[in-house]
Point group: D2
Chain length 377, copies 4
């Protein structure tokens, strides 16, 4: 129950056991073609969007967004925590201007605040974080884009902790760039960033962009088009073995159905929150509308979060540390994405009950798991 | 017999079958610690060098060298082909000046030419390519550094097609940055760039560098130090599963012995060249001192190289296309690195004999393999 | 939570990924040597016992016991259920006389009953079943052997559902033949029977035995001795890949410690029984002293056991059908052996609570898991 | 290039990576159903034949043939070597009479000799060995059955080293029992015996047979019928994980086509024999009509065969020892079955050339591989 790499199904891992598959092999080309096509579906995009699968992960995918910026462009960063702030840290390395709208920990920047900001200033790009991994807070992407779509040039959304577990509608919400990483709700090892770009975003790729070389989408766009069409193509070496795992993950997704997959995540998340609350602990996300399907921050009262993380490992559970500086030392995170199921919700709460009780939290053993059971019945 | 990803030993691939290992787990931290330490040994570096293992591959590792450059720095690129030229393409995206010394295809830039260039101009950085993957040509790194060491600030060497198969002496040759990628002579899937930096190079990492964010080694240096010391640390998600494979590859290397490993590569390379020459074909590298242990370019006479690549696949052999523009349509490449052995040399030549004869090359069936056998006896 | 093949750790499964290991390879010989030596330890045997690892499973290991019998021998079978009765079915195929002592379902044959039987008749062999897989009932082996040891020739114990999860003392209890199968509490795929034979039992192996060929231990004894000494040896092909998995399982056992392993099984079994009882359901084994660490039979009231088995599969849980004819249609079995842990106890009861409630059992949701939690606290 | 377990394709091995699949799971039942049906096709049998897949291997499958015999039956064993003699050793353990027709090493019993024998005596069963693994000699099954079919009750053929690599026609040749093992030309790890029985053979299964329990096909026949029809069924635990590998192997066979598969084996065998002969060495099988597609015995002149076996291992090649007592110390065996391809023929001969020359054989380096190349051109 980590936030990433998440627990991975062995059927996916073994799909990468390819001893001698080069990047020019037809099997690899076919695997990329399938993955690129499926990525559109996963992102709620259509044929007008260009999919990209590039080496790296979430941060490199975010930095590749610089490919659409030119010297002097203005960017508005809508930040709900550590990974929202990361957009700013990235753009600060380039010759662009960055403004930031910042939410209190556990809250999200309100759609009307974003609207106000884009009315006061003309931005080339607005970035948002669908689910902020540091707090588990979800931004209402659709409500924001409805208000700002006509007032900004490009909109980019970091879907690292949402794609594959939350409803994602690149096209309907008119998002220009939606991105994620392989090791989160897709449930594959780390090693790739995945993006879709609208036609408008693709048209911004040019020699004049501020981007560097490896993460410059201009260098990758023809490779992606060729591979999707079944033709070998090379710019830099792609993570060949990971792509075969991605194909397997996408096949499992398709078999489950994307809607069923999202409902499964909802069910597990609901169970976990019910268990946490019935133990008398606080959730970092302050209001139900900010809850996400993928990450739950848990504020402890008496226990030391880093001691909790160590103790649960010996009970067969892996959790993630809290990383939001404003809540340092006060919380830990439960990741519930990828191949999680209701049994994981039960187990997670059962282990936490026992461990937290031992650490002095006023737990009534059995109350947490009962609450989970009630949500699952 | 591809140039990369190369054929990978299954013991290495299965080392990555880790269903639930997060980046905060002790197993992962230990794996990174071991790998970083071993990387120094592999590079012929000592404790004064800082090792890095970062997501991506060869090109991203090359781009991360921008971390030591500042606005206005002058760089000399010593290029023997496509991947030499890539250094220039990378630095052109940054505010630095780039001069290039270029060799004819199949040749390498002579040490005295490099010496002359650095005497005429003061360079912050000179880059070289140990083995040029596009042609299989090896640059005599030690001879160059002897001549230029005192006349330039920093020296960086792309060891993508050499590290693990050729003698690499970062320390003895006073190279400041030696880099490679996981999927070449190390014999692991693609997904990581590996570098060592001298103290001088590390001292250049700063807020003022021209580098971006993800590939900026300043953002990674503390993470690498912490992980080597066995402490969890995070900047961006590392390719967790790949690192476990890297550990296995390094363990196998250690069991074989680095010198034995290089001799094995030499033996296979010699066998392959003997086979090629006895078939009456030309090798792209023009002189024996330019031969490498890892890549052999083969110039065909009557056959169409891309047809050869297709035909050998149905005989169970995978080769790589020629990519040097000056030799377009005239050659293909044999990669012989990683876990290759003398039997691979025999098989490769045997398949080529049969396929090339069918395609009209004047082959005397059996002469190629006999030549291989004679080198192996 | 099946009774076998049980859920298997992937580290064990991947240990069998050996593409080209023949039965004459040193790796295989070493793997057999290690496994045979470790088998003695696992069985509580000493150097005077001869270990055997032969193809097949529990039933073939039982039949191989015919290797110590001669025409006209008398055998006493102590049967607590289906697999006790199997001893009789086997011996009936040979020219020996068989008497059976039979317990009521859920009970075991009392030590004093066995004592009485062996006082009335002279038996060459008495067979017992340590844990009867069909009911989960444990026979008190030590108490029986204490009473009968001096009155019978040979004692054989079927430890199929006990070895690796219950205290097994071949030597201390003076058992002549202790046997098990790979796919039960050892936690390896099915494919091998494992036995230890006392010197007395080995001395009975002869041309005159009633046994056939493949399962005749006389044909295997020299092979086992040679392999243990590191020498290649052949009678019939051993399950090479499985042996590498067995080595891994034994290494994991050694790392855990055999006593810790038994305690872990006890803890899980106790948790499961607490959950079952707090749901108001009956356990097949009628008294606590008959409880086993490995199998729990559960008698349902309103639900149809075969419907329960189907329903839990869709909740990610696999259980085993009841097979005792006297309880046909009344119960199902929970296997809790191999690599089970307390989280499995929680999950099993949580799924059962939800499924059984849906099927009309008078379950108070949360009571079962609370009971498990209390035993684990 | 071992005679078994042979080198196994990793796609087959990884198909066995099933962590939690019990014998009652639908996946396993489906896997058995598919495998049983495919086995008929592989054996050249039709719907009138009953397929069996039982634990063990070749020897246990041979012993299971006792299921069709009754006390006092007469059996004729047609033996071309060690595994022919094994039929006699097996039947000697049962109350049946056994006559043996024996060929000189390297030869096979002539069809007319068998005909003569069955005319002189009435036999309930005649057994033959399609390819004798100890010598690589092939018996002309069709020619024998044509002559004897009407004169004997049942005919059983050991196809251990033929099924999957030689033309097998159970139906057309009116063979009643054709058997093989998983680890030979099928190319799966050891662990299962596979048989088809004609209606006549099935009708002989009865309580009165001389067979024991585990290898008594009467105990398995309903299980096989149920599993083929998709219904769970149990007698003793089947090698669940191996069955998933078998499915994969059968799928790969189907993709290749059985005829193509046999041609591939022929091509490799021919290449190997050409290499051996051009090195001036003798083949154990004395005449071309006795050559098999799967095993070649090689008689050396100066080298010590057991030293050869050790030496080739360090060159990456695994061969098998000679086991025919009449040729003790004079030969070794090359297995060429399963997933072998022409490159294996080249490699095998190349390694042998180098190793045997070193050991004093009068080898002209390169002649062997040239001969292989000529057969492959």
């Amino acid at each position: 129950m980590h936030v990433g790499p998440v627990t991975i199904d062995y059927d996916i891992l073994v799909a990468g056991l390819r001893g001698d598959t080069g990047f020019t092999s037809q099997e690899f080309i076919d695997a990329m073609s399938f993955s690129l096509k499926y990525l559109r579906k996963l992102m709620g995009a259509d044929e007008t969007y260009q999919p990209f699968i590039i080496p790296g992960g979430g941060t490199s995918a975010m930095e590749s967004v610089a490919s659409v910026l030119r010297r002097g462009d203005k960017v508005l960063v809508v930040s709900n925590g550590v990974f929202g702030d990361r957009w700013k840290a990235i753009f600060n390395r380039y010759s662009v201007a960055v403004d930031v709208l910042k939410a209190n920990p556990g809250e999200y920047v309100k759609p009307e605040e974003v609207e106000k900001a884009v009315e006061e200033e003309k931005y080339s790009l607005v970035t948002m974080t669908h689910v902020e991994t540091s707090t588990g807070v979800k931004e209402p992407i659709g409500e924001v884009t409805k208000r700002i779509r006509d007032k900004v040039d490009l909109i980019a959304v970091d879907g690292v902790s949402s794609v594959g577990a939350e409803t994602v509608k690149a096209k309907d919400n008119q998002v220009d760039i939606y991105l994620t990483a392989s090791q989160k709700a897709i449930g594959v090892p780390p090693g790739a960033g995945l993006l879709v770009l609208s036609e408008r975003a693709v048209s911004r790729l040019s020699e004049e962009s501020v981007a560097g070389y490896y993460l410059n989408l201009k260098n990758w766009v023809d490779v992606m088009r060729n591979l999707e069409e079944g033709k070998g193509s090379y710019f830099a070496t792609l993570p060949v073995h990971l792509i075969f795992m991605l194909v397997k993950a996408f096949e499992l997704m398709e078999r489950e159905g994307l809607e069923n997959r999202i409902k499964r995540h909802e069910r597990v998340a609901k169970g976990i929150r019910a268990g946490i609350e019935s133990m008398g602990l606080d959730i970092v996300a302050r209001k139900p509308e900010a809850y996400s399907n993928t990450v739950t921050g848990v504020i402890v009262k008496k226990a030391n979060p880093s001691e909790v993380l160590k103790a649960v490992v010996s009970e067969g559970l892996e959790l993630a540390p809290g990383v939001h500086p404003a809540l340092a030392g006060k919380y830990f995170r439960i990741g519930h994405m990828g191949w999680v199921n209701p049994n994981d919700a039960v187990t997670t709460i059962a282990v936490l009950e026992r461990v937290l009780k031992r650490m002095g939290e006023p737990i009534n053993l059995g109350e947490g798991v009962r609450a989970v059971q009630n949500t699952l019945a």
